[in-house]
Protein backbone atom coordinates (compact mmCIF):
# COMPACT_ATOMS: atom_id res chain seq x y z
CA UNK A 1 0.00 0.00 0.00
CA UNK A 2 2.81 2.38 0.87
CA UNK A 3 4.58 1.42 -2.36
CA UNK A 4 1.62 2.42 -4.52
CA UNK A 5 1.12 5.69 -2.62
CA UNK A 6 4.85 6.39 -2.87
CA UNK A 7 4.83 5.91 -6.62
CA UNK A 8 1.75 8.09 -6.96
CA UNK A 9 3.41 10.85 -4.95
CA UNK A 10 6.63 10.54 -6.99
CA UNK A 11 4.61 10.85 -10.21
CA UNK A 12 2.76 13.89 -8.87
CA UNK A 13 5.98 15.64 -7.87
CA UNK A 14 7.60 14.85 -11.23
CA UNK A 15 4.58 16.25 -13.08
CA UNK A 16 4.62 19.32 -10.82
CA UNK A 17 8.30 19.87 -11.70
CA UNK A 18 7.37 19.72 -15.39
CA UNK A 19 4.64 22.33 -14.85
CA UNK A 20 7.13 24.55 -13.05
CA UNK A 21 9.59 24.16 -15.88
CA UNK A 22 6.92 25.18 -18.36
CA UNK A 23 6.17 28.31 -16.35
CA UNK A 24 9.89 29.03 -16.00
CA UNK A 25 10.38 28.94 -19.77
CA UNK A 26 7.12 30.65 -20.69
CA UNK A 27 6.54 33.02 -17.75
CA UNK A 28 5.74 36.45 -19.15
CA UNK A 29 7.28 38.41 -16.29
CA UNK A 30 10.36 38.10 -14.14
CA UNK A 31 8.21 37.56 -11.04
CA UNK A 32 6.79 34.42 -12.63
CA UNK A 33 10.27 33.07 -13.29
CA UNK A 34 11.45 33.70 -9.73
CA UNK A 35 8.27 32.06 -8.46
CA UNK A 36 8.75 29.04 -10.72
CA UNK A 37 12.35 28.62 -9.52
CA UNK A 38 11.24 28.89 -5.88
CA UNK A 39 8.54 26.27 -6.43
CA UNK A 40 11.03 24.03 -8.21
CA UNK A 41 13.26 24.13 -5.13
CA UNK A 42 10.32 23.18 -2.89
CA UNK A 43 9.39 20.33 -5.24
CA UNK A 44 13.00 19.16 -5.27
CA UNK A 45 12.84 19.01 -1.46
CA UNK A 46 9.67 16.92 -1.78
CA UNK A 47 11.46 14.61 -4.22
CA UNK A 48 14.41 14.18 -1.83
CA UNK A 49 12.03 13.37 1.03
CA UNK A 50 10.22 10.78 -1.11
CA UNK A 51 13.52 9.20 -2.19
CA UNK A 52 14.49 9.04 1.49
CA UNK A 53 11.26 7.19 2.28
CA UNK A 54 11.70 4.85 -0.72
CA UNK A 55 15.26 3.99 0.25
CA UNK A 56 14.56 3.82 3.99
CA UNK A 57 17.51 6.12 4.56
CA UNK A 58 17.23 9.18 6.77
CA UNK A 59 20.52 10.74 5.68
CA UNK A 60 18.75 12.50 2.81
CA UNK A 61 17.10 14.95 5.18
CA UNK A 62 20.33 16.82 5.74
CA UNK A 63 20.32 17.53 1.99
CA UNK A 64 16.64 18.54 2.12
CA UNK A 65 17.28 20.94 5.00
CA UNK A 66 20.27 22.48 3.24
CA UNK A 67 18.29 22.83 0.02
CA UNK A 68 15.44 24.55 1.88
CA UNK A 69 17.85 27.13 3.30
CA UNK A 70 19.77 27.71 0.07
CA UNK A 71 16.54 27.99 -1.92
CA UNK A 72 15.11 30.60 0.42
CA UNK A 73 18.30 32.66 0.46
CA UNK A 74 18.64 32.53 -3.33
CA UNK A 75 15.03 33.62 -3.86
CA UNK A 76 15.46 36.54 -1.49
CA UNK A 77 18.79 37.48 -3.09
CA UNK A 78 17.27 37.45 -6.60
CA UNK A 79 14.29 39.56 -5.46
CA UNK A 80 16.57 41.96 -3.62
CA UNK A 81 18.78 42.33 -6.68
CA UNK A 82 15.80 43.16 -8.89
CA UNK A 83 14.34 45.57 -6.34
CA UNK A 84 17.46 47.46 -5.32
CA UNK A 85 20.10 46.67 -7.93
CA UNK A 86 22.29 45.28 -5.17
CA UNK A 87 22.16 42.39 -2.71
CA UNK A 88 24.10 43.52 0.34
CA UNK A 89 23.79 47.26 0.88
Amino acid sequence: MIGVALHFALGCVALALLFNGWRLLRGPSLGDRIMALDTMVINAIALIVLIGIAGGNDTYFEAALLLAMVGFVSTIAYCKFILRGDIVE
Binding site: I2, A9, G11, A64, A68
Partner: protein, 135 residues
Amino acid sequence: MLADLLIAALLLLGGGFVLIGSWGLVRLRSTMERLHGPTKATTLGLGALLVASVVFFQAKLGTWTAHELLISLFLFITAPISANMIAKVHMHRLRTGAVSEPASIAGPPPRPANGSDWATFEAPHSGTPTSTANS
Protein backbone atom coordinates in the same frame (compact mmCIF):
# COMPACT_ATOMS: atom_id res chain seq x y z
CA MET B 1 -1.55 -1.64 9.50
CA LEU B 2 -2.93 1.60 10.87
CA ALA B 3 0.44 3.24 10.39
CA ASP B 4 0.52 1.97 6.80
CA LEU B 5 -2.88 3.51 6.17
CA LEU B 6 -1.80 6.82 7.72
CA ILE B 7 1.44 6.94 5.75
CA ALA B 8 -0.33 6.12 2.47
CA ALA B 9 -3.03 8.75 3.11
CA LEU B 10 -0.44 11.42 3.94
CA LEU B 11 1.58 10.53 0.83
CA LEU B 12 -1.51 10.79 -1.37
CA LEU B 13 -2.50 14.11 0.24
CA GLY B 14 1.01 15.52 -0.10
CA GLY B 15 1.48 14.44 -3.71
CA GLY B 16 -1.95 15.77 -4.66
CA PHE B 17 -1.40 19.16 -3.07
CA VAL B 18 2.07 19.57 -4.59
CA LEU B 19 0.57 18.81 -8.00
CA ILE B 20 -2.35 21.22 -7.42
CA GLY B 21 0.05 24.01 -6.44
CA SER B 22 2.05 23.66 -9.63
CA TRP B 23 -1.08 23.27 -11.73
CA GLY B 24 -2.23 26.61 -10.29
CA LEU B 25 1.09 28.08 -11.41
CA VAL B 26 0.31 26.97 -14.97
CA ARG B 27 -3.42 27.57 -15.03
CA LEU B 28 -4.05 30.95 -13.38
CA ARG B 29 -3.96 34.10 -15.46
CA SER B 30 -2.07 36.89 -13.71
CA THR B 31 1.13 36.86 -11.68
CA MET B 32 -0.53 37.91 -8.44
CA GLU B 33 -3.02 35.03 -8.77
CA ARG B 34 -0.26 32.58 -9.64
CA LEU B 35 1.41 33.50 -6.37
CA HIS B 36 -1.37 31.70 -4.50
CA GLY B 37 -0.63 28.21 -5.84
CA PRO B 38 2.98 27.63 -4.78
CA THR B 39 2.76 29.53 -1.51
CA LYS B 40 -0.23 27.73 -0.05
CA ALA B 41 -0.91 24.43 -1.80
CA THR B 42 2.71 23.41 -2.31
CA THR B 43 3.68 24.29 1.26
CA LEU B 44 0.79 22.24 2.62
CA GLY B 45 1.68 19.34 0.32
CA LEU B 46 5.30 19.33 1.39
CA GLY B 47 4.20 19.52 5.04
CA ALA B 48 2.07 16.39 4.55
CA LEU B 49 4.97 14.57 2.86
CA LEU B 50 7.29 15.47 5.73
CA VAL B 51 4.78 14.24 8.33
CA ALA B 52 4.45 11.04 6.28
CA SER B 53 8.20 10.53 6.47
CA VAL B 54 8.23 11.17 10.24
CA VAL B 55 5.53 8.49 10.69
CA PHE B 56 7.32 6.15 8.27
CA PHE B 57 10.66 6.25 10.06
CA GLN B 58 8.97 5.96 13.44
CA ALA B 59 6.71 3.04 12.53
CA LYS B 60 8.84 1.09 10.06
CA LEU B 61 12.42 1.59 11.18
CA GLY B 62 11.88 2.65 14.78
CA THR B 63 14.11 5.69 14.48
CA TRP B 64 12.75 8.96 15.73
CA THR B 65 13.92 11.86 13.57
CA ALA B 66 12.80 15.44 14.01
CA HIS B 67 14.61 16.87 10.99
CA GLU B 68 11.43 16.75 8.95
CA LEU B 69 9.60 18.89 11.45
CA LEU B 70 12.54 21.29 11.30
CA ILE B 71 12.22 21.50 7.51
CA SER B 72 8.47 22.09 7.66
CA LEU B 73 8.87 24.75 10.37
CA PHE B 74 11.52 26.47 8.27
CA LEU B 75 9.30 26.33 5.17
CA PHE B 76 6.27 27.63 6.99
CA ILE B 77 8.34 30.62 8.11
CA THR B 78 10.08 31.31 4.79
CA ALA B 79 7.25 30.75 2.26
CA PRO B 80 5.33 33.95 3.18
CA ILE B 81 8.55 35.98 3.16
CA SER B 82 9.56 34.84 -0.31
CA ALA B 83 5.98 35.35 -1.55
CA ASN B 84 6.06 38.89 -0.17
CA MET B 85 9.36 39.60 -1.94
CA ILE B 86 8.08 38.20 -5.25
CA ALA B 87 4.91 40.30 -4.97
CA LYS B 88 7.07 43.38 -4.29
CA VAL B 89 9.22 42.66 -7.34
CA HIS B 90 6.11 42.32 -9.46
CA MET B 91 4.50 45.52 -8.13
CA HIS B 92 7.63 47.58 -8.69
CA ARG B 93 8.00 46.26 -12.22
CA LEU B 94 4.34 47.00 -12.88
CA ARG B 95 4.78 50.56 -11.67
CA THR B 96 7.85 51.18 -13.82
CA GLY B 97 5.98 49.75 -16.80
CA ALA B 98 8.42 46.87 -17.33
CA VAL B 99 5.52 44.40 -17.45
CA SER B 100 1.80 44.68 -18.07
CA GLU B 101 -0.69 42.75 -15.98
CA PRO B 102 -3.18 40.64 -17.93
CA ALA B 103 -6.84 40.72 -16.89
CA SER B 104 -7.23 38.53 -13.84
CA ILE B 105 -10.22 36.60 -12.53
CA ALA B 106 -10.34 38.55 -9.27
CA GLY B 107 -9.76 41.97 -10.85
CA PRO B 108 -7.19 44.52 -9.67
CA PRO B 109 -6.51 44.63 -5.93
CA PRO B 110 -8.23 47.40 -3.91
CA ARG B 111 -6.24 50.56 -3.25
CA PRO B 112 -4.86 51.23 0.25
CA ALA B 113 -7.06 53.34 2.53
CA ASN B 114 -6.85 57.15 3.07
CA GLY B 115 -5.34 57.91 -0.32
CA SER B 116 -1.90 56.57 0.62
CA ASP B 117 0.10 54.34 -1.67
CA TRP B 118 1.48 50.84 -1.05
CA ALA B 119 4.10 50.84 1.68
CA THR B 120 6.73 49.34 -0.62
CA PHE B 121 6.56 52.40 -2.92
CA GLU B 122 7.23 54.87 -0.12
CA ALA B 123 10.64 55.94 1.15
CA PRO B 124 11.41 54.46 4.58
CA HIS B 125 10.32 56.72 7.42
CA SER B 126 13.24 57.65 9.66
CA GLY B 127 13.10 56.20 13.14
CA THR B 128 11.33 53.00 12.11
CA PRO B 129 13.06 49.61 12.29
CA THR B 130 12.79 49.16 8.51
CA SER B 131 14.66 52.36 7.77
CA THR B 132 18.20 51.72 6.64
CA ALA B 133 18.56 55.12 5.01
CA ASN B 134 20.47 56.90 7.77
CA SER B 135 22.27 54.04 9.43
